[in-house]
């Protein structure tokens, strides 16, 4: 079993009211010096079998058609190795 992570973020030009609400709360909580917050989604996919190029291509398609709405969102596909560090396997803007 291997883990593939898909991060989905609103495109930079799209207003992120949730991120803004978080950012506005920061000074109230005593956190200074953070000028912007954007909120995204992280999907962790447990993959049966090897994460080879074919598997990654399928996950890329899954991210593009379902996990992200590419009208408003970008996504990044990362493969997580046994130690838990991530390697970018493809991004789509």
């Amino acid at each position: 079993m291997a883990r593939v992570v898909v991060d989905v973020m609103l495109k930079p030009e799209i207003l992120d009211p949730q991120g803004q609400a978080v950012q506005r709360a920061l000074p109230r909580l005593g956190f200074q010096g953070i000028s912007d917050v954007r909120q995204g989604k992280r999907f962790e996919l447990e993959v049966d079998g090897p994460v080879d190029e074919a598997a990654l291509a399928r996950i890329h398609e899954l991210a593009e058609t379902f996990l992200a709405n590419t009208v408003i969102e970008d996504f990044v596909v990362k493969v997580e190795d046994a130690e838990g560090s991530e390697k970018v396997a493809g991004a789509a803007k």
Binding site: L15, P17, A21
Partner: protein, 226 residues
């Protein structure tokens, strides 16, 4: 022959009964359609009603878009069958790309529920022919993911082709770009809007007016004349 108008129920749909009722009040036959059915039961048109299909998980409308019933709806809509998406139904229609753009969380992050004034901008679609261009109507609005967005090029295209079907009047309730409340596809058979005409078809409920009834009489007239 009575026109048959299908009303789809997804898990989490709320407004299917109101929509069926609106269809009947207008004088058509309401045909319930289940999200697992690929068979559209020979309906003449389909309404995707409001609610929170699949709990709005992932994104509003994103999971419903892949339901068996939507495979048939997409195919038939492309072939010219009239389809109306209200609120969550509008979100489903943008997720299917039958309508351009996407829906974001309201700019103020609050769920909003109010009587909303709209201007009918395009009275030539399958669902708006009983209105006149420029007519002002008032129907209920209730949503949290109602902020219509699209890139500038798409917005300019919609304006140039007269495909902005409805615009918010007096106030923009959710930050929708260019006050857009509803749009139509190029052919005019697919229409989506955030406010709820099906809640304003009888004077006893909703806004106390019947401003929403025109959607359902429009389609009926179109189908009978077709």
């Amino acid at each position: 022959m009575t026109a048959r108008i299908g009303v789809v129920t997804f898990p989490g749909t709320l407004d299917d009964r109101d929509t069926q009722r609106a269809v009947r009040v207008a004088g058509a036959e309401a045909v319930p359609l289940w999200h697992k059915d690929k068979d559209l039961k020979q309906v003449d048109a389909v309404v995707l009603p409001g609610g929170f299909s699949y709990g709005d998980y992932l994104r509003a409308g994103a999971i419903s878009r892949f339901s068996p019933v939507m495979e048939s709806v997409i195919e038939q809509a492309k072939a010219g069958m009239p389809v109306l998406g209200i609120c969550n139904g509008f979100q489903v229609l943008t997720e299917t790309h039958l309508l351009p753009g996407a829906m974001l969380r309201n700019n103020h992050l609050h769920f909003i529920c109010r009587d909303q004034k709209l201007r009918v901008e395009n009275a030539e679609t399958a669902w708006t022919a009983d209105y006149t261009a420029g007519q002002e109507i008032s129907v209920p609005l209730k949503n949290i993911d109602g902020q219509y967005t699209a890139d500038e090029r798409t917005l300019d295209m919609l304006e140039a082709e007269g495909r902005v079907a409805f615009r918010y009047l007096d106030m923009n309730p959710n930050g929708s770009l260019r006050d857009i409340a509803g749009i139509t596809n190029e052919a005019g058979n697919v229409v989506g809007l955030m406010p709820h005409p099906e809640h304003a078809v009888e004077p006893l409920v909703g806004t106390g007016r019947t401003d929403g009834l025109g959607f359902f009489t429009s389609i009926l007239k179109k189908l009978v004349n077709a």
